[in-house]
Symmetry: C2
Subunit: 208 residues, 2 copies
DNA sequence: CGAATCCTACCTACCGGACGGTAGGCAGTG
DNA sequence: CACTGCCTACCGTCCGGTAGGTAGGATTCG
């Protein structure tokens, strides 16, 4: 879970990356200057370029690592689960947990795509597509086997992912709510929205 | 629905605003220069400052108008509806419709808050809070009257609003899907997630 | 009525400053 | 003596914003 932090003495490159994550999250990529990153690392601006070829490369590195770890985490959480409902629950839970624990990186990955060069943009979008495919496959299977109501897979997958991102925006690590409690709320809401078991269009009587 | 466009000859200020919306949406606020806006309006950079006091003022104006119209649209759509389920459906529908029709402005309003001065930031956040309150009130009433399952009102309201924003990111006005069809999908999903009528935690047998 | 004045809506030219990035040097380590 | 990891000093560019001017239509006033 803790990347950018190696054992032993953390390298300056790691420090730069961590500071960049902090600043990009706080002020945005374009509003953050290289001198500012350097300043908070206690080094000069030019020294940044010893570790990274360009400002854009810092952004790209953050996004790449984050996307790889996000997908890896999901695969790990799905591993060994066969039941479709269990897989969907695990997927939502994994997504939310990662977004709460890695709040800043995922925020950057979601909102700073425009700072990337065309080539790097394509690379990140490809990783994102790969991640979405996993969700879409689960939803599709759920619909086909009749566990879920029939839905537009693409629209719903995107809706669910976006919905689960919401937590990362307001989540406060020092706040009252535990990560798993929040993940449970999203999990319940999503599953309720997907599962059969009620009659769509017909309002149940209050108190029923 | 069509603001920034007066009858008769549209003013240069309107043109600046429309061009700014286009560019802020396309490249982001910080990545857009005043000269660029001017260029696409066919005037010089300095002339922009005849119509707007600063670049930030353009952003603020866009956000303010958008938020006011968003809230006005919601109020209009809720007007006269008493039934809680109908109100929730109307609210979701209104939110989605507005975000699809005013894709670019709402995107800016959601993602470019950091470009605002502190005072303007507070003003926009206040408007946003006011809008969210309307949703929260509906959810709260639904829970209290037993129409909806008991939920964490704040978390769910935020989740629902974020989820409905998803459409505006991928929506293509020239695409295959009609605005109302998309709104219906979100409406159904949200209502299904909120309403009573299934037994949470118990998986219904496939085919049931 | 015509002359003087004002206002609108733009222009050219410029400012200080910050930005991303580079060149080249230097201290410490192996 | 080479390499690592940093430094100082500097570059050209572009930015938001300002100063000051001007064409021309509307308004005011002797």
């Amino acid at each position: 879970m803790l990347s950018y932090l190696e054992f032993g003495m953390p390298s300056m490159k790691d420090k730069i990356t961590r500071v960049a994550i902090e600043l990009f999250h706080q002020k945005g990529y374009f509003a953050t200057s290289v001198s500012e990153i350097a300043g908070q690392c206690g080094i000069q601006k030019a020294s940044i370029y010893y570790h990274y070829a360009s400002k854009e490369n810092i952004l790209f590195h953050i996004q790449k690592v984050t996307m790889d770890e996000l997908t890896g985490y999901l695969r790990g959480n799905l591993d060994g689960r066969d039941d479709i409902e269990a897989r969907m629950r695990a997927a939502v839970h994994s997504h939310v947990r990662f977004h709460l624990h890695r709040q800043k990186e995922t925020f950057i990955a979601n909102s700073e795509l425009r700072g990337l060069t065309a080539a790097h943009y394509r690379e990140i979008v490809a990783k994102r597509d790969e991640y979405e495919q996993i969700f879409q496959q689960i939803i599709r299977e759920g619909c086909e086997t009749g566990v879920f109501v029939p839905v537009d897979v693409k629209i719903l997958s995107y809706a669910i992912l976006t919905l689960c991102n919401a937590g990362a925006i307001w989540y406060n690590p020092e706040g009252r709510m535990a990560v798993d409690a929040i993940a449970d709320i999203y999990e319940t809401f999503v599953l309720r929205g997907l599962q059969k078991g009620q009659f769509p269009g017909i309002t149940p009587k209050p108190g029923c």
